[in-house]
């Protein structure tokens, strides 16, 4: 029983990342009608925002310490970070420790800006082009973005730890009267994603801006005829989608050390999620994200693997095939979207 609860928890936590990425993808697709293959790269850039903030906070000056030697036998240069020297070791240390949450503040404007630039500079010209062209150009962009990151940060993963206070385990089982320990940061990630998803939905549902965007998603031309500048709003939506992907990336860094190709690792998966949810359906994307996360978690249980060896390797794809064959437009897709 505990094991099952643990895997459900694990699935929700995996699903949070899938759902966040798929949500952003669907926002872009639903509003702009563009298939964005660079969305994984946005997730990756978000993660590297956290790395950058960590690096900035750790910027340091060197003092030569004659008593210690470095690997070549020369006097060791001891590094002290500016932050620590300005705020004192304790306060400075705490700031460095909270690099990842601080990075959220840093990432939101950066990601929105990147989103704007991408949309205005490139994607805009592809609204009227074929989906295949959109896929190709955004795929090219994804390659370029990840190579640029690799050039500056190297290919190996870079550790970005969560704050000390949030890095232990918590007894989640206490709620159910048992003992289930789960990493605090992963629980934080889950609630974070719930908040973001809730935020996006209420934004679209309860604001005038959201209403216009939803109207634009349904019928762009009519909204335009009403004298509303829908393009500008769509650009803003693109920025928001980029920010969602970026925040998902920032918060993901303590879970797994980021590297330059983490975006590609998530790309295929998030497309499967989006399609299973139904192209253009926001609730579908979220639902499919959590569902595939939970199924993936269960498929990696030993009990299940012993019956179906290798199932954990292919579960996502098997589910995708079954859903697409039984529900032609995914879980919640509309008719006629991306079927030609």
């Amino acid at each position: 029983m505990d094991a099952i609860l643990l895997q459900i928890l694990n699935g929700l936590d995996k699903g949070s990342a899938y759902a966040l990425i798929a949500l952003g993808l669907t926002l872009i697709f639903g509003t702009l009608g563009v298939v964005n293959f660079a969305h994984g790269a946005l997730f990756m850039i978000g993660a590297f925002c956290a790395v950058t903030v960590q690096r900035i906070l750790n910027l340091s000056y060197e003092v030569v310490d004659e008593t210690q030697k470095d690997f070549l036998g020369n006097p060791l240069k001891v590094k002290t970070s500016y932050v620590e020297s300005w705020f004192g070791p304790e306060m400075g240390g705490a700031i460095i420790d909270w690099a990842v949450p601080i990075a959220i503040l840093f990432a939101i404007p950066i990601m929105i800006l990147i989103g704007f630039v991408m949309e205005r500079g490139l994607i805009k010209h592809f609204y009227k082009r074929e989906h295949a062209d959109q896929i190709l150009v955004t795929f090219g962009l994804a390659i370029v973005l990840q190579e640029v990151i690799k050039y500056f940060y190297g290919a190996n993963p870079i550790q970005t730890a969560s704050p000390e206070a949030l890095s232990g385990v918590a007894n989640v089982g206490a709620l159910f009267g048992t003992e289930i320990f789960y990493p605090v940061w992963r629980i934080v990630y889950f609630f974070f994603s719930v908040v973001i998803i809730g935020g996006i939905f209420s934004f679209l549902q309860f604001t005038t801006f959201g209403m216009v965007v939803r109207a634009g998603m349904a019928d762009r031309e009519t909204v335009g005829l009403l004298g509303i500048n829908i393009d500008r709003r769509f650009t803003i939506m693109f920025g928001i989608a980029a920010a969602v992907a970026g925040l998902a990336g920032v918060m993901y860094t303590p879970i797994n050390s980021p590297n330059y190709h983490m975006g590609m690792d998530f790309l295929v998966l998030s497309f499967v999620v989006v399609v299973v949810g139904g192209m253009g359906s926001l609730p579908g994307a979220v639902l499919a994200g959590f569902m595939l996360g939970i199924l993936e978690a269960f498929a990696s249980m030993n009990e299940i693997k012993s019956i179906l060896p290798g199932i954990d390797q292919i579960i996502i794809y098997v589910v995708a095939i079954i859903i697409l064959l039984t529900r032609p437009r995914g879980l919640m897709g509309r008719k006629g979207v991306m079927e030609e």
Binding site: V137, F139, G140, A142, I143, V144, Q313, I321, M338
Partner: protein, 400 residues
Amino acid sequence: MFGLDNKDTRLLLVVAVLTLCAPFILNPFPTDSAMAQFNAGYPDLMQRFVIFGIFAIGFNILFGLTGYLSFGHAAFLGVGSYSAVWMFKLLSMNVVPAILLSVVISGLFALLIGFVSLRRSGIYFSILTLAFAQMSFNLAYSVLTPITNGETGLQLTLDDPRVLGVSATADGSIPVTNLFGMEMRSTFEMALGPWAFQFNAGYYLCALILLAAFYLSIRIFRSPFGMMLRAVKSNQQRMNYTGLNTKPYTLAAFVISGMYAGLAGGLMASMDPLAGAERMQWTASGEVVLMTILGGAGTLIGPVLGAGFIKYFENIFSKINDHVLHSWFSFMPDGLEDFVVFIIHPFIGKGWHLTLGILFMLVVVFLPGGLVEGGQRIAKWVKGRKNKDDSASATKTPAE
């Protein structure tokens, strides 16, 4: 000629001359010159050009004609390679049965996957094919290791049975692939002044098969069957309303293009008897999509050009290192030399992915019809300078 009209015959002849003279065309620089770095006329790369050309031609029959974007085509290439290597392991080192088997097996595999995937269209079809291919890759890498030899790739060993051949040659090595005794790796070397040209038996086998495949694809493009496929692309619904069942046509196109992929896989294994699982990965499927679109989807020659372009990059650009750069610019003053190398450095050698990504974007943004459109524009421009009236008709000429 061969049941083709004049224009197609000309195209076929051009392709024939290009492929058959490739050892000359691809080796324009003398062996010892600094530019020899850019020579591509060595057997392995020439073989890759034509093999991936076949792969892309086949992909284009599905995508270019019907508009169905398969994102899992590499699976058929992989299956073809595995079948060919198994043939070498079990039967003999002759490439003919291996290639035949790889075409048949991948055709069957395509029939199965196509039958299921073609129940959906648009991106749903793409994701279905992607899912099947990724499943094949993941399983081949892990659970199916007894058949595929997993990460290492399926290789020949000294104790393979090879019932119609020998397990090991007299001097204790693994026999090599051959066509009725003609070794695929045997190469004629021709030195002509400072140039060296290599004529490889395997390459010419691949080239001849490419020509046959190209010819077949022209015939398919021009046949009523091809017209039907184009009709599917332009409006499948209308086709269905006229009471016509389009599924057999699309399925046939899918199987044919799967067989092309299998043929390419079989040839790859014949040139180099090893089959690795990463041939089936989604990135490999993505590569053939890129080749086709880069060259010009729906055109006859485009996919071949795209394949050549990407393979050239992968094999030539990735080999330029800082050392080579310094030797090129050594004529410059020291400071300037370092500066130039510093500027170019991120784009070559380990940065070849970056250059490729930028080029993709440029081509897609400015040349939506791929390299073929680029060629047409140049042709138009040249013509336009000669005769301004001609330019209007040139735009209407289809890319084929």
